[in-house]
Amino acid sequence: MPLRYDSFKEGDPLPVLKKKPGVTQLVKYAAGGGDFNPLHHDFAFPQSKAIGSIIVHGRFKYAALGELVSNWLDHGGRIRKLSCQYRGMDLPDKEMTLGGTVKRKWTEGGEKLAELELFVTNEEGKNTTPGSAVVVLRG
């Protein structure tokens, strides 16, 4: 059901999205997104060796936060703004939990808006990728 402005309130959590990308998923993301940095698929790459592993593309997490917000909207609105900062590296085959909460909702210039606080936590519970979004609801 498309999300409506009156169907949520400030403080509401977004339904979480779990991801556990393995190397093959990262290769698919590389092909879809065009980022073929070996740091995301080649364990023999010097930077991967220095880090001890290949790492998940930051942009994969950015896009996945977009998926989280889009799933919540279910086409009842659009993303106006989406941002995140990569504070920690995520490794392949580790579960990431993506989620968020409604920080604020308001109307402005005839638009129905909501601001969201977003996170990506790793298996140790650390938020590796704090983010935020502003969405515009249709109805």
Partner: protein, 163 residues
């Protein structure tokens, strides 16, 4: 590991210089490839009939996807797929790069069938100390996407961390 990074006048001179425009294509196949790479299961990004049923012109671009830069051997970066900068480039000699973060702001919709004209510029340079990597050069890049009607549809700011 760099002990110290100096932002030279030559590096400063690059700030604000816009790249020549480059074409990004948004096609049904490229939208599917991106959505598949992220792991979307919503059929709107895969099935045109479903996209139309939900009110879109064609498959909508998933969040953060603003098309695939057309790839031309010799003119495109073989690793990152973006055009090789023909204008003044940042010369810092640092070998490693990490992504610091990104922010996208939409001013219009993007769907399969759109052709975007994309320009970018270095918006800011800064130096930060990191416990794990030593000194880092933070390059903030601003990218502007215009559609085939000349309308700005998205702007992205992103931070590259060089060390």
């Amino acid at each position: 590991m760099a002990e110290k990074i100096e932002i030279t006048p030559e590096m400063r001179a690059v700030v604000g210089v816009e790249t020549p425009p480059w074409t990004h294509e948004v096609t049904t196949t490229s939208v599917r490839a991106f959505a598949r790479g992220v792991g979307y299961t919503d059929l709107v990004y895969f099935d045109e009939a479903e996209a139309k049923r939900r009110g879109y012109r064609s498959l909508p671009a998933p969040a953060t996807y603003f098309g695939t830069p057309i790839f031309i051997p010799g003119k495109s970066n073989d690793t990152f797929s973006n055009p090789i900068q023909t204008g003044p480039s940042l010369k810092h000699g640092l070998r490693n790069v990490l992504d610091g973060g990104a922010e996208i702001e939409y001013e219009g919709d993007i769907c399969a069938g759109d052709t975007l004209t994309v320009t970018s510029k270095v918006a800011d340079l800064a130096v930060r100390e990191s416990k794990t990597t030593g000194a880092m050069l933070i390059v903030t890049q601003e990218t502007t996407c215009r559609n085939q009607h000349g309308k700005v549809v998205a702007k992205q700011r992103s931070q590259g961390l060089f060390y």
